[in-house]
Amino acid sequence: MSAKVIALSEATESDEALLAACVRREQAALQKLFARHRDAVHRVLARVLGAASPHLEDALQLTFLTAWRRADSYAGTATVRSWLFGIASNVALNYARSEQRRLRFLDRFAVRFRAEPPRIDDVVAERELVARVLDRLATLPADLRVAFVLCDLEGLSGVEAASVVGVRPGTMWSRLHHARRRLRAALEAER
């Protein structure tokens, strides 16, 4: 009985209410938000940073930690899920930039480590096209990648994606078009 009540309560508790509770520093609200959106946020992070990125867990933690700290900045112009995606995108961008700086540093001193070989299950699971697209996606600039992930893969509109990322809609559209053009080039190369 009590479990049912709790389940109903959780179901009726909106993301906005949980976020408001986060403003009041109620940790239970953060736990619920984390339980609801951790997979989606993880997916975004994995698509932006790459599924094999060693920073995925840190990025996931930092995303929700930032949400906890900045809960009072939620303006309500987008859904909480989109807002979390925006935070995750920015976190991923920061990681991507850090990674980019690290790689540049390694290139400078010619100490480039060999990348880990893809896991066998991935190779088996992915189709060839998917692999190529994902490879090309991984080579896209981070901001283009974020635009593509948010708009094409996570289904956010251009305006909403621009809002959560913090850029103007035109910029977001432009990034999205560039990303698509480059990914399409991967298909044409196959032909």
Partner: protein, 567 residues
């Protein structure tokens, strides 16, 4: 749609589902191919990513709970960035520097201490938040004023304007009667013309209309006696009440005039205040004094030929031809015998020089050096007996010995009045020693120390005075000041009833056996020794003083010897 849309338009329509574009794509194979590619890319990229494992989710959750728990918030508080702290400090300092000048400070105000029946009003002129000038308008009374640092203090009466640091004023009927500079300097404007500048220790008194030359004020050095002499002119009568009023000030400030036989006079004017101004004091049969020095002597000033002492000579003053010390005070004794005008020396030898000679002053062969007030030394004998000396018979001596004040031999009195007169003959009409109005010569440390000592002596700070005089001896042991300093140090100690006085007296006669004051000091030493039951030493001292001193000193020595004989 006839024209094919651009790739961007197709891309946007792919996201937003523009109906017109979709229709065009349906009829345009080229655009349809692009459309399919967009879909293919999306489908390919939409391949599921490996889900977050439960273990990973648990690790993230645990880390997240740990970092968001209330206790962790305190525990994991970010340490202050030193750069931020430094920047904050610099910002605060900059703000303070910017803000400080505008900070409303406590109103700067001079300290105005009414001493006797004062009627005044004060106002502060402000420049923004800061006091710019303080004005004290006095109608009557005796006031002590001390300016606040950085805020000029102006005193106004109906007849004068005064600006200075620390000074006392006596105002009667909205007219300044007297001004004494206690610290710093004072500028006094009276009518047109340049201000009269007064330095520390100097005193200005209003002269009134009696002055022959039309001047209405004289400047007097404080150490000099302030008491008017006999023979006062018409103005003296009017000035008398003011003196009495000042004399009654409750702050203990007793003008030197109590002891003085000299009157502050203008050049050519007679003394103004009758001797009878001091109750119980016999009028001094003085001839009208003549002003001979309009300003206090300054270091380096030299006495005129008449050499009448007129108070403490300024540093550097030297005796004139007749060897009388120059004094800074403007007051001049007009005694027929050329008596000095300073306060009576200790021991009722007041007819003689009684002001301490100022630094640099040296007595001539007639030894009319300045001496301090009789009060300073001669109130009582070292053994506490009082009034047992033989007072000189001349008027000046009587004044000095006025009342029944006890008096050991005056340190300054070496002789009777006639003996003290310069050999060249002091013509009463002769000019008293004068000094340049302003000597720009910088004063030496010894001179400054002597002045400090004298000021302290005057203020009854005898220990400070003794220390200052000792400093003079230390700084310039071979200078002319050393003798004066040694003498006054001994006197200060004696008056303060310090044990060191005996040693100081001994040291004086040992170092300065030829000093004009030596006979006096011998007699003082005799009394001091006798007070300590050193009968033989006392006898020797009295004998020595009697042998070397003048009649008055001899008389005092005889008294001492008689006291020894009487047991």
């Amino acid at each position: 749609m006839k024209r094919c849309p651009s790739f961007d338009d197709l891309s946007r329509a792919f996201s937003e589902g523009n109906a017109a574009t979709k229709r065009h794509v349906g009829g345009c194979p080229r655009c349809a191919a692009t459309w399919r590619d967009l879909g293919a890319v999306r489908d390919a990229a939409s391949a599921p990513v490996p889900p977050l494992s439960d273990a990973a989710a648990e690790r993230v959750a645990q880390a997240l709970w740990a970092r968001t728990s209330p206790s962790a918030a305190v525990r994991t508080a970010k340490p202050l960035d030193l750069r931020l702290v430094g920047a904050a400090v610099l910002t605060i300092v900059a703000l303070l520097l910017w803000w400080a000048p505008w900070y409303p400070r406590a109103p700067q105000a001079a300290r105005v201490t009414p001493i006797a029946d004062a009627d005044y009003e004060r106002s502060v002129r402000y420049d923004g938040e800061r006091a710019r000038q303080e004005i004290v308008r006095v109608r009557r009374g005796h006031l002590r004023l001390d300016a606040t640092e950085g805020v000029p203090l102006r005193l106004l009466t109906s007849d004068v304007r005064v600006e200075g640091t620390a000074f006392d004023v006596v105002v009667v009927d909205e007219r300044l009667v007297e001004l004494t500079v206690r610290a710093g300097s004072v500028a006094l404007w009276r009518g047109e013309g340049p201000p009269r500048l007064l330095q520390v220790g100097e005193r200005w008194t209003a002269g009134g209309a009696a002055n022959a030359d039309g001047r209405s004020a004289v400047t007097e050095g404080v150490p000099a006696t302030a008491e008017p002499t006999v023979g006062a002119g018409a103005a003296g009568a009017s000035a008398q009440p003011r003196m009495n009023e000042r004399d009654k000030t409750p702050d203990g400030f007793e003008p030197w005039s109590d002891r003085s036989s000299a009157a502050p006079v203008e050049p050519g004017a007679s003394a103004r205040w009758p001797r009878a101004a001091n109750p119980g004091e016999p009028p001094a049969p003085r001839a009208p004094a003549r002003w001979t020095g309009s300003e206090p002597s300054r270091p380096g000033a030299s006495a005129r030929r008449t050499g009448n002492t007129t108070g403490p000579a300024a540093p550097g003053a030297s005796a004139g031809r007749n060897g009388h010390a120059t004094a800074p005070a403007a007051r001049v004794s007009a005694g027929r015998n050329g008596n000095t005008t300073g306060p009576p020396a200790p021991g009722a030898f007041a007819g003689h020089a009684t002001e301490p000679s100022a630094p640099g002053a040296s007595a001539g062969r007639n030894g009319n050096t300045s001496a301090p007030s009789a009060r300073g030394v001669s109130d009582r004998t070292p053994d506490g007996r009082t009034g047992t000396h033989d007072a000189p018979t001349d008027a000046a001596t009587r004044r000095g010995a006025r009342g029944a004040e006890p008096a050991p031999p005056s340190p300054a009195a070496r002789d009777d009045a006639s003996a003290r007169a310069p050999k060249g003959g002091d013509d009463p009409s002769a000019e008293a020693p004068s000094a340049p109005a302003a000597d720009a010569r910088p004063r030496s440390d010894a001179e400054l120390a002597f002045e400090r000592g004298w000021s302290a002596f005057r203020a009854q700070d005898l220990d400070d005075a003794a220390r200052a005089f000792a400093k003079v001896e230390q700084i310039a042991p071979s200078s002319a000041l050393a003798e004066d300093a040694a003498y006054w140090r001994a006197i200060a100690l004696l008056r303060a009833k310090r044990e060191e006085a005996l040693q100081a007296l001994r040291a004086f006669v040992a170092r300065h056996p030829k000093a004009t004051r030596a006979p006096e000091v011998w007699v003082l030493l005799g009394w001091s020794e006798l007070a300590r039951s050193n009968v033989d030493a006392a006898r020797d001292a009295f004998v020595r003083g009697r042998a070397e001193g003048g009649p008055a000193v001899r008389a005092e020595a005889d008294r001492g010897l008689a006291a020894i004989d009487d047991g």
